[in-house]
Symmetry: C2
Subunit: 560 residues, 2 copies
């Protein structure tokens, strides 16, 4: 869009990886260097859509607009970001803007600035780095002109109030602020100073201790980094652990805040900061929501989980957590809709992945064809080496697909169980009947449905039919093992033996061993010796490498 | 007994460890140095009672008797040992003795010597180190005087037969023997030699290849070492592995022996050698017996296992293996008697161990008392340090005791199952009723009995009563988990919940977690959300460290 060769390279990188943070930084720099004002603005917008929690870049954007005299746009940016992005930098920039605008506004102007300070402190005053704003705020109060003793008294009260608020907060400069406060009180009256300072001292001491701990805890946190979906690198894991330590510390209430709402607000603020940086970690959102729920802030919990789902529509954790809240609140329709949407999302992803695999295979085959046509032998060599690569990747993709199918099925099972609880077994059976036809289902759905019939509706006969139905689509030894285990556990040994006999020879030997072992264990423990010996003999014929004598004895001894 | 200070030290070592091989060697040496003839004889007898498979020491013993002119005793030693101990040394010593005795016996004497050679080769001729005996044998045949062409012809035939037998065996000097044979045939007739050697050559080649492999396989085997109960050291494990490699090689039939009986004899010989050295490894005996069974040598298998039980009366493997053979042969009384004897053995061991623990504790307490009386503070210090030691040891002994009780119970379970198969459920119930009163029983007997009732006699009601009965003696969380699992699996959810409720608070929290998880999993998967949430809440109250939000979700996600 900027038209330069460099920008084309940058765009290519972003097309390949939408979270290539270096490329994003280059994009901003390139827009600044060669772009028009509009292009530069566009770059900011694109950047902040991708990284909406980066206060530093919001502040840069504001600065850019102000440099171009577009106060209207600067104000719009403030409106979009201030309340969402808990950034000291951004609020500082806002306060500077308000102060500049009201420099010559007289008393009315002063009131506007004071109001802005109050708002800022309300949003960001708890931040460990908000100490500068607090200093500015107090300085601004002190600088107020007074024309009467009453006004002077009022200013003094406001100053004292501000000091007392901040020396209870573990901001990094709390010690300097306490010295200022000390000087302030002593400047007024040595007598009252002694009393007041003695009163405030324990509060300040607690905050000072906390500030020291907080400094240590914050040191490893990279608050300024641009949030990206985790790749579970060591660095990411250690960031996550550092954040967890910090959150645990906040939850331990080191300031011993008496007021429950204030205590909640402080911990909630910590979670908000964590969610900004660890934007793509579902468990952080989940824990923030759980914390809200524990304090009966149900709406807040729902909002947190909704935001999390917007950001991470594939997350099982946050989707299930929200559905569970809906179910508890008897919002059956909402829960059902959420499950359906989640399943659709997973289904679409699988379809897209399959498409891209098909396309890749087609592309590979086309290339193979071409290679073969052009230069015979050499082409064949090339093709062979590509085949290996392509196959290696295909294996990985197949594993990925299996994982996705398993995930889809898990979601379907959770929904089916929810429907049974909320709408009864009949509706749950409908869900099962519909879902089982999906091409994305694994055998686990049949196991879950059968056991639901057995445990919840006590319908062993239906359970058996469900298992039997599953056998038409799935001959996976793991499925057969589950089915066999069910038959054994329900004492249906005729059917157990029948199932074993009609499936055991259909399974590849290297995957049938668990089924063999289950049946052999059962036979050895509970059937007649001739049966046991016969099964053992067949087992040893199927797995001659294990032929070291009696399996029965080996099972017994292993059991010991 | 020898009266020396040194011998007293040796006896003390042997009293402490009956398998202190170094002390045993010292005992023999001391008897030789300072003992009377009778004392030396006594030392040999004691030594060989402890190490009855040491051919070397049997040979030394014979030599000792011969040195003292006691041919009667020497012959008695040969009679005791030759057939049992497959020792080339011992047989060589015997052959030397026979030859010496018949040196001047004329033809009759020659026949005796020849017979002795034949017997020796029958027992030991397959040994890789028997090549010397074969050479001597051939030399002895060759040295025979002849007085007619007919006799000369006979001698030639006998020599040829002997050569042909040995060049088919992988003795270490088979190459030299082949060269001798080549010279022998060529010495008779170049014409027939060519034909005969061509005929025998493939057999010899196979033996030669096998001899080379055997040389390598035998290198790590310490055949001369005195067998001791294993302590599972690295050295012992690598010996075991080396023997296993050797046995596997023999079982692969590298000589491609056509005659089944001869093939069996050779492998059986390898097992016998292994059982001599790995005397205290039940699995070697078990495999030898299994090999015999596979070739329908049932009596031989029984004899092997009986010997193994004499040597290792505590071995589960060999006892169970023999009982299984009896059961298969419908020798119910023998099987029953064997199980009873095995249980008595285990029971006695536990009683003895308990006695020795009681004695130790008494000794410790007496010492403690004394220490306290004599020197107050210092004594208390001593006592404290002993306490730690004594307690440390007691812990180990308690673990050992638990292991023994578990073993006793396993044997009781195996017997109970055998009785059910062989004599029916009623007799099995009698066994259960009697056994459950033993002080050595663990809860596993109740689980086994209950599941036997459920699976074999389909008596769910009795199964429930058995579990309930067990609960009177056992509150082990593992037992409760088994019981709960049974109730859940049999869909008895009222009783499942009742069991959970009346036991969960009796269990120490650190051991109850499995019961909690089982019940929570079940509740989350199959019960109503309110139930699940309630159990979850109680779980989180019991285990606050896990309080990271919804357990239900964590179970679901973990399941994924």
């Amino acid at each position: 869009m900027l038209g330069t060769e460099r920008s084309a390279q940058i765009e290519a990188r972003l097309a390949k990886d939408a979270y290539d943070t270096e490329a994003w930084q280059m994009l901003l720099a390139e827009a600044q260097n060669v772009g028009t004002e509009e292009q530069h603005r566009d770059a900011f917008d694109r950047f902040l859509e991708q990284f909406p929690t980066s206060g530093r870049h919001w502040a840069l954007y504001v600065e850019f607009e102000l440099r171009h005299g577009r106060t209207d746009l600067a104000e719009a940016i403030f409106a979009r970001s201030l309340r969402e992005v808990l950034s000291v930098d951004l609020w500082k920039s806002y306060l500077a803007y308000v102060q500049r605008n009201n420099e010559h506004g007289g008393n009315e102007g002063r009131q506007i600035v004071l109001k802005a300070f109050e708002t800022a402190l309300q949003y960001i005053g708890m931040d460990k780095d908000a100490g500068g704003i607090w200093s500015d705020y107090i300085a601004f109060i002190k600088a107020g002109e007074t024309s009467s003793t009453y006004e002077e008294q009022q200013k003094m009260d406001a100053t004292r109030r501000a000091y007392r608020r901040v020396i209870a907060i573990p901001v990094m400069n709390v010690e300097a602020l306490w010295r200022d406060y000390d000087a302030f009180e002593n400047g007024l009256s040595r007598m009252t100073a002694k009393k007041f300072l003695a009163e405030q001292s324990p509060i300040y001491m607690t905050a000072r201790t906390a500030a020291r701990e907080l400094k240590q805890l914050s040191e490893p946190l990279q608050r300024g980094s641009l949030p990206c979906p985790p790749r579970w690198s060591d660095k990411e894991m250690s960031q996550l652990a550092a954040w967890r330590r910090y959150l645990d510390w906040e939850k331990s209430d080191p300031l011993k805040i008496e007021d429950a709402a204030a205590r909640y607000a402080r911990i909630s603020f910590a979670y908000k900061q964590a969610m900004m940086v660890l934007r793509f970690y579902p468990e952080v959102w989940f824990q923030a929501a759980s914390f809200a729920l524990e304090h009966s802030r149900n709406e807040e919990a729902i909002q947190i989980l909704k935001s999390a789902i917007d950001i991470m529509p594939h997350s099982f954790l946050v989707n299930f957590a929200l559905a569970e809240i809906y179910e508890e609140r008897k919002q059956v329709a909402e829960a059902r809709a959420l499950y359906e949407k989640f399943l659709d999302q997973l289904s679409d992803d699988i379809a897209k992945m399959n498409e891209s695999m098909t396309a890749e295979i087609a592309a590979f085959e086309a290339q193979h064809q071409r290679g073969g046509n052009i230069d015979g032998g050499g082409g064949a060599d090339m093709a062979t080496s590509s085949t290996t690569d392509a196959f290696g990747e295909t294996d990985g993709e197949e594993r990925e697909e299996a994982r996705r199918l398993r995930g889809y099925t898990l979601a379907a099972i959770v929904m089916m169980r929810f429907v049974r609880r909320a709408e009864g077994i009949k509706v749950a059976r409908q869900v099962f009947s519909r879902t089982r036809k999906s091409p994305h289902i694994t055998y686990h759905l049949f196991v879950a449905s059968a056991l639901m019939e057995y445990y919840c509706s006590k319908e062993a006969a239906i359970a058996g039919r469900v298992f039997e139905l599953g056998l038409k689509s799935f001959s996976d030894p793991d499925y057969i093992r589950e089915y066999l285990d069910y038959l054994i556990r329900t004492n249906d040994n005729n059917n157990a033996r029948a199932l074993f006999e009609r499936t055991i020879n259909m399974m590849p030997a290297d995957r049938a061993q668990d089924v063999w072992r289950l049946f052999l264990d059962y036979t050895c423990d509970y059937e007649e010796l001739t049966n046991a010996k016969e099964v053992e003999k067949r087992y040893l014929a199927a797995y001659p490498q294990g032929k070291q004598g009696s399996m029965i004895l080996i099972i017994i001894i292993n059991g010991y």
